[in-house]
Structure formats: structure tokens, C-alpha cells
């Protein structure tokens, strides 16, 4: 995927072209393209007058960033402590089975990307699965199929 340089420029300028906003800038670029394309990283480095290695370092250090394109829907399974004691590992296993991918991977049809997170801060509702920005609380392995189904048949496929 090639990204329009002017799009990156707009984002960089919105932060006053300041290097202390590097993480925020990368986040916005990712929000725009669903991942961080190589061209975008190069453009950001150039605009902020930072060595590319530093931008690449930040992009690979933080879990929030992906250098690979992601699926249409983000499925995030919370593995925080509260979710863990209430059975999150079994929920994750079931999501992996249903989507047939490992955490960090995207399904072949590019519909879903599976990720695990350490805590989503809604611990009273655990185990928690978040699809895109919808929080699904008190999930059990048995409920996983039904939750994912809503997104499988939402007609937004390619």
C-alpha cells in the first residue's frame, strides 16, 4: 500500500511537527491506514528530522503498532489479571479456534485480526473481548461463536 505523503504531512503538522509527538503521530497514521506502511515511516522520519532507525525503533517497540496490514475487524481478547482468574485463557483458545489464527495474525480473508491485550480497564466485566470498539463483557468459551458471528455476516466483506 502506498500512502499519500500529503496525508502524513497533515498529521505531522497537526502536532506542530514536533518530535515529542512521534508516538501520537504514528498512532494517527495507523488509524488512517490500519497499519504503518514503510513509506509513511520514511515520511514521518524526514519531516521530524529524525533518523529512520529511531522511528522504526519506536514503531516496533510499542505493541500498539503494526507493520503489517490488519483485518477489517480487530478482535482483542483481554488477558488482564481479573479476566485471567475468570477464565480468559479458555476464551482466547476458543477465539483462536474459531478464527483459525494466532494472536497477532490476520485471517486469510482479511476479515479479522486477533490480538491479546494486557488490560482494557473494565475489569469488573471480565472476561472481556473487544471487537472494534464494542465491549463484550462476561464472555465464556461458549459465547465466543455467537459474538464473532455478528461480525462475520455484517455484509461489509470484500
Amino acid at each position: 500500500m502506498r500512502i499519500d505523503a500529503s496525508k502524513v504531512d497533515r498529521i505531522v503538522d497537526a502536532y506542530g511537527c514536533h518530535r515529542d509527538s512521534l508516538i501520537s503521530i504514528l498512532q494517527d497514521v495507523q488509524a488512517e491506514c490500519s497499519y504503518l506502511p514503510e513509506d509513511a515511516l520514511k515520511r514521518v522520519a524526514k519531516r521530524l528530522k529524525l533518523p529512520l532507525i529511531q522511528v522504526y525503533g519506536v514503531a516496533t517497540f510499542f505493541k500498539a503498532f503494526s507493520l503489517q496490514p490488519r483485518g477489517e475487524h480487530m478482535v482483542r481478547v483481554c488477558l488482564g489479571t481479573a479476566c485471567h482468574v475468570r477464565g480468559a485463557p479458555a476464551v482466547l483458545d476458543e477465539v483462536r479456534r474459531q478464527l483459525d489464527v494466532e494472536p497477532g495474525e490476520t485471517t486469510e480473508d482479511s476479515r479479522f485480526t486477533l490480538e491479546t491485550v494486557n488490560c482494557l480497564g473494565a475489569c469488573a466485566l471480565g472476561p472481556l473481548v473487544v471487537v472494534d470498539s464494542e465491549y463484550q463483557g462476561q464472555i465464556t468459551p461458549g459465547k465466543v461463536k455467537r459474538v464473532l458471528k455478528q461480525y462475520m455476516n455484517d455484509g461489509r466483506g470484500k
Partner: protein
């Protein structure tokens, strides 16, 4: 809105708001915290809004979507003021009645009230709900009363009264002195005296006079979410605290470093910053005092290590989030090499309370060494989960049984985990331990940011130690060897133990390794990383030995050491499990007993979850201790 130029103008505005609001108008507060969002509170709010319009009640009642009320377990929550009528598990269909009966006629709708399951007593108001009764919500209490996107709500509730006091009546040394007297200690984990940081930072030399204040909102401890709720529900309290701190330290630039997993917090904070600037409470010449201060939001990138001060500052500067050695503290040389004061969200939110109500009043709350209140996220296997604010020194027993309403499903309490991945597990035998910074440390755990995860007999302590070690292995930045390699090795050994490959001598080696990692790691992450392991070995050695020697998991959690089977007496032959088993490991005809083939079973637990008759048993191989 014209910028406020003096205290008099602020006070005039406050009385104008109060006058406008004073009257017989009721208000309906709908909890808009993340927990209630998951229960679709926004639908409840729009249903209420529609009903208020339809029944033409707009002149008598106002609808407010507020921050988190704390009692997430029973969401969506709706409270009607001034009566404080407390409704829980509200659905959009209830809106008609709430508006016509409760708002219109002052009647209470019985079915929406909370019933205390222990005493079978109905609670009509928030104050009568046992979950709230033992709390003392001096910091968190405003959350349920104000619309976080409306600065006038905060002002009406007495917000921004501490700021003018700090700007006009106190000098910087006086502010620091007041914080010292209050006994406030950092709420982010280590409990360092707040005034000491401020004083060091204020008196530290800076080559160009630049100093920074930072709010650490990179709440990474899994199981804790009080910072999120404060930021989402009452952002102005944090801003007010930061402005006061900046004045004490003589800083003019501030940052809030917030987790990107908290989008609502980022949004509400952004709105609050804009409003504070518009009102002249932030920016140049605040309230005409001549003091300038402004705040930027910086979003984190999902790295636990960035909660550590030096790593946070590195990442703020646009570098990767690696910590550095702290022989020179960040209060002396922090962000861009300038003196920098960093405090946690909850610490900042305590500051305006102390300044407006006075250190004397504040220091009466709590214990000898730990003053004030602490917000905990009480989660795990208790009935009432949610956020609670209690005076320091409350016992674990009160937390679990009085506030938490006791254990779920009639199970027995086994341990309470505090302090996140840096903390430890406190066994049931220490249930009367008063909760404060020092007592928790003595027990081998720590306060941390206030996660309190209650565990029952169905929680395996070896699995817990493995869970935290795995978490920390993944979050270790890799800069120093003891943490990077030591934790990796620790995880390997713990995995072996949970999978039945443990051998004698493992426990001693683990303890030794834990000691080395603690001593030799570069930063706080590695320095506290062995705590979950060491505290569980200390209190639950039997359970480790059961895994190592007898290859047996007493809690029935470790997959390699358990088997699934069907309870002959309970199975009705409904075929649900057989149909859903991903491995086709369950066989049996309709209305006849089903059987699980242990060779095919992957122990995913799906059958157990789906069985409506509780007919799937988890058991371990036959074993004998003697």
C-alpha cells in the same frame, strides 16, 4: 466565554451557575463509565432523553451522563437526585417508568432497586447499598455527580476552589509544606512522599529555568482501572492538581501521558483542557495571577514499562521506552534533562482536596504512615466488583466481605492479589491485615496502583505466578540481562512445573533466581518482577510441591494435570457438548450417557461451559500423597 481574570470573577461565575441551577430541578445521572458502556448505557441514556422530551419534563429534570460510579457489576446504573434513588441493571425499556413515576411522582420502582443478597435487604439510595457504605469517596465521589465534558459542573461542585487559594493565598513553599503535612504518598505504586519529590524538583538547578510536571496515566497494571475512571469521569480534578503542583515547583509546561487503550479518557481530557483554557484556568496569566502553565496530552503506545518514570520520559521525547539508571533522579534531571516532577493520576486528584480542605483534615484519615484514602479496583471472584475508595487501613476482610459482598458461587477465599505484576498474593490467613503501604510491603506484596484481585480455591497459585511472569517476560524491555534472561528462565521453569515436568530442587533454584533478578535489575520492573513468584512460594509452597512432586494441580487449573469427564448422574444426553466439541472427542447417543475420549480431548473447557446440567467434571489423575 470570556477568560476569568481574577478570583472575584471566578466566584461570580460560580454563584451564577449555582443560582441558575438552584431550584426544584431534579437530575438523572446515568453512569457513562467504560463498564456501563459495555452494558449499553448509551441506549439507556438516549431512551431517558427521549422520554423526558416526550413527557415534556424538560423543565423539571436534567439528564446527565457522568463518569464511572464504581459499582460496575450492576450496570447500567441510574441515580435520581436529590433523593439519590439508586437503580441498577436498567434497560432502555425502563425509561418510561423512571420518567413518569420516579421523576414525575417521586415514586420508587421496586424492581430496579438493589437487593443485598446476603441480608435480602432492599436499598433505596446509594448510601444504603452495602457496596458503598464503608467507602469514603473524597476523590472519586464527584464522578457520579458531574458531566465530565462540562466544566461548569465541576465548578458548581466546588471545583477550582483550591487553585485560587494556591495562587493567591499561598506561596510555593507553603503549598509544599501543606502537602508534606497531609502525609500524601504517591498513589502509583511505590508510595514515595509526594512533597519530597516536589521539593527536590523545585530546588533542583535547571540551566534555563525550565521544569516540567507530568501526570502518569499509563495505567498498566492489569486489574486496575481507577486512573482511567478518574480521567474519564473527573478530568478537571487532575488538571487542578497539576496546576497547583506546577505553581509549587515553578513549572510552566505539563504533560499527561495516557494509555492509548483508554480512548474515552483521552477524549474527555482533551475537552477539559480546551474548556480550562477558554475559562482562563489554564494557559497564560491564570486567573490574572501572572502564572503561566499549559498541558499537552501524549498517548502511550501500549508498553507496560512506560509506567516507569525514566522510560515514560524517554518515550515522551520520541525515543523507545527504555528506562535508564536512576542514580540521578528525574526530579533533578528528567524530561529533556530538566528537573521533572511526575505523579500518578490519583495523586494529582488528591492535591485539590488537600489544598481546599486542609492538611489537618486530610491527615486524620488513614493510618500512621499512610494518610488519606485509596481507590481500589476490587475484582475477581467476589460478588460486588467495581471501584471503591476507602480510608487507608481498612482490613482485607472488610474489603472482601462487607464491600465485595463475599465470594461468588459459595466458594472459599484463597488469596488476594495486590500490586499488579509487581505485587504478590496475600493468603486467606492474613485476612485481617490492614491495607496500607507498609503493611502490604511487609506481607511480601505492595500497594501498587490499587488492583485487588480476589481469588478462590479454583485459582491455581502456580498458574498465577506463571501468568505474571509471562506478562513481565513479554513486557521486559530487554535492556538489562537479569530481567531479560532471568525472567525468561523463570518462565521456562514455571511452565515446566505447570505442565508436570517440574523436578525437585526447582523451588530452591527459583527462589535463588528471584533474589538475583530483584537485586541486579536496572529498573523497578525487574526489581519487583519476582514478587508474584516469591510471595506464592512463601505462602503456598504446598501447592507448588503438589505440582512438582505429585504432578497434581489441586485447583484443577493446569491443563496438563487434569482430565475432563462426564458425570453419569447428571448427563441427560442432550448432545450439546458432543455437537460443539471442536475435536469431536465426545460421543454418545441422544438421551444416553456421553463419554469424553481423553486421547482426543484438548481440555478447552467448552463442554463444561455449554453444559446446562453441570455434568462435566474436571478432575486430576488419581494421586496419593503418602
Amino acid at each position: 466565554m470570556q477568560k476569568l481574570r481574577s478570583i472575584a470573577e471566578l466566584e461570580r461565575l460560580r454563584s451564577r451557575i449555582l443560582r441558575r441551577r438552584n431550584g426544584t430541578k431534579k437530575y438523572v445521572s446515568v453512569c457513562g463509565g467504560t463498564g456501563c458502556h459495555a452494558y449499553k448505557c448509551q441506549d439507556v441514556a438516549s431512551a431517558l432523553e427521549g422520554e423526558i422530551r416526550r413527557q415534556d419534563m424538560g423543565s423539571r429534570v436534567e439528564l446527565k451522563v457522568t463518569g464511572c460510579h464504581g459499582f460496575c457489576e450492576r450496570g447500567p446504573l441510574v441515580v435520581i437526585y436529590p433523593e439519590e434513588t439508586f437503580y441498577q441493571r436498567v434497560s432502555p425499556a425502563d425509561a418510561v417508568e423512571i420518567v413518569s413515576r420516579t421523576v414525575g411522582k417521586g415514586e420508587v420502582i421496586e424492581r430496579l432497586l438493589y437487593v443485598d443478597p446476603q441480608k435480602n435487604r432492599v436499598a433505596r439510595s446509594e448510601a444504603e447499598v452495602p457496596f458503598y457504605r464503608k467507602q469514603q469517596r473524597i476523590v472519586f465521589g464527584k464522578n457520579g455527580l458531574i458531566d465530565p465534558t462540562n466544566i461548569e459542573d465541576y465548578i458548581a461542585m466546588g471545583g477550582y476552589t483550591a487553585l485560587p487559594k494556591a495562587l493567591f493565598e499561598m506561596d510555593p513553599e507553603g503549598i509544599i509544606e501543606e502537602i508534606k503535612e497531609s502525609g500524601l504518598r504517591g498513589r502509583g505504586g511505590a508510595g514515595f512522599p509526594t512533597y519530597q519529590k516536589w521539593q527536590t524538583c523545585r530546588s533542583a538547578p535547571s540551566r534555563d529555568g525550565v521544569r516540567y510536571v507530568i501526570c502518569n496515566a499509563d495505567e498498566g497494571d492489569p486489574g486496575a482501572y481507577m486512573d482511567r475512571s478518574l480521567l474519564e469521569g473527573n478530568p478537571h480534578a487532575i488538571l487542578e492538581g497539576m496546576i497547583i503542583g506546577a505553581r509549587a515547583i515553578d513549572a510552566h509546561d505539563g504533560y499527561v501521558y495516557v494509555r492509548m487503550e483508554y480512548p474515552l479518557a483521552v477524549k474527555n481530557l482533551g475537552v477539559a483542557l480546551d474548556q480550562a483554557r477558554q475559562y482562563g484556568l489554564l494557559g497564560q496569566n491564570i486567573l490574572g495571577s501572572g502564572f503561566d502553565f499549559d498541558i499537552k496530552i501524549s498517548r502511550g503506545g501500549g508498553a507496560f514499562i512506560c509506567g516507569e518514570s525514566t522510560a515514560l520520559m524517554a518515550s515522551l521525547e520520541g525515543h523507545i521506552g527504555e528506562p535508564r539508571q536512576k542514580h540521578i533522579h528525574t526530579a533533578l534531571k528528567g524530561l529533556y534533562g530538566r528537573p521533572t516532577n511526575l505523579n500518578n493520576v490519583e495523586t494529582w486528584a488528591n492535591v485539590p482536596v488537600i489544598i481546599s480542605r486542609g492538611a489537618k483534615w486530610y491527615s486524620k484519615i488513614g493510618t500512621e504512615g499512610s494518610k488519606g484514602t485509596k481507590i481500589f479496583s476490587l475484582v475477581g471472584k467476589v460478588h460486588n466488583t467495581g471501584l471503591v475508595e476507602v480510608p487507608m487501613g481498612i482490613t482485607l476482610r472488610e474489603m472482601v466481605y462487607d464491600i465485595g459482598g463475599g465470594m461468588r458461587n459459595g466458594k472459599k477465599l484463597k488469596a488476594i492479589q495486590t500490586g499488579g505484576p509487581s505485587g504478590g498474593c496475600i493468603p486467606e490467613s492474613l485476612i485481617d491485615l490492614p491495607v496500607d503501604f507498609d503493611e502490604l510491603t511487609k506481607a511480601g506484596s505492595m500497594m501498587g496502583s490499587g488492583g485487588m484481585i480476589v481469588m478462590d480455591e479454583g485459582t491455581c497459585m502456580v498458574d498465577m505466578a506463571r501468568y505474571f511472569t509471562k506478562f513481565l517476560t513479554e513486557e521486559s524491555c530487554g535492556k538489562c540481562v537479569p530481567c531479560r534472561e532471568g525472567l525468561d528462565r523463570m518462565l521456562d521453569m514455571l511452565t515446566d512445573i505447570t505442565e508436570g515436568r517440574g523436578s525437585e530442587g526447582d523451588l530452591d533454584l527459583l527462589e535463588e533466581l528471584g533474589g538475583v533478578i530483584k537485586e541486579a535489575s536496572l529498573c523497578g520492573l525487574g526489581g519487583t518482577a519476582p514478587n508474584p513468584l516469591l510471595s506464592t512460594i512463601r505462602y503456598f509452597r504446598d501447592e507448588y510441591e503438589a505440582h512438582v512432586v505429585h504432578k497434581h494441580c489441586p485447583a484443577g487449573v493446569c491443563k496438563a494435570l487434569i482430565t475432563y469427564s462426564v458425570d453419569e448422574a447428571k448427563c441427560t444426553g442432550c448432545r450439546v457438548c458432543a455437537r460443539e466439541c471442536p475435536e469431536g472427542a465426545i460421543s454418545g447417543e441422544k438421551k444416553k450417557l456421553h463419554v469424553i475420549d481423553p486421547a482426543k480431548c484438548i481440555k478447552c473447557g467448552l463442554c463444561r461451559d455449554l453444559c446446562k446440567f453441570d455434568a462435566i467434571l474436571v478432575s486430576w489423575e488419581r494421586w496419593e500423597y503418602d
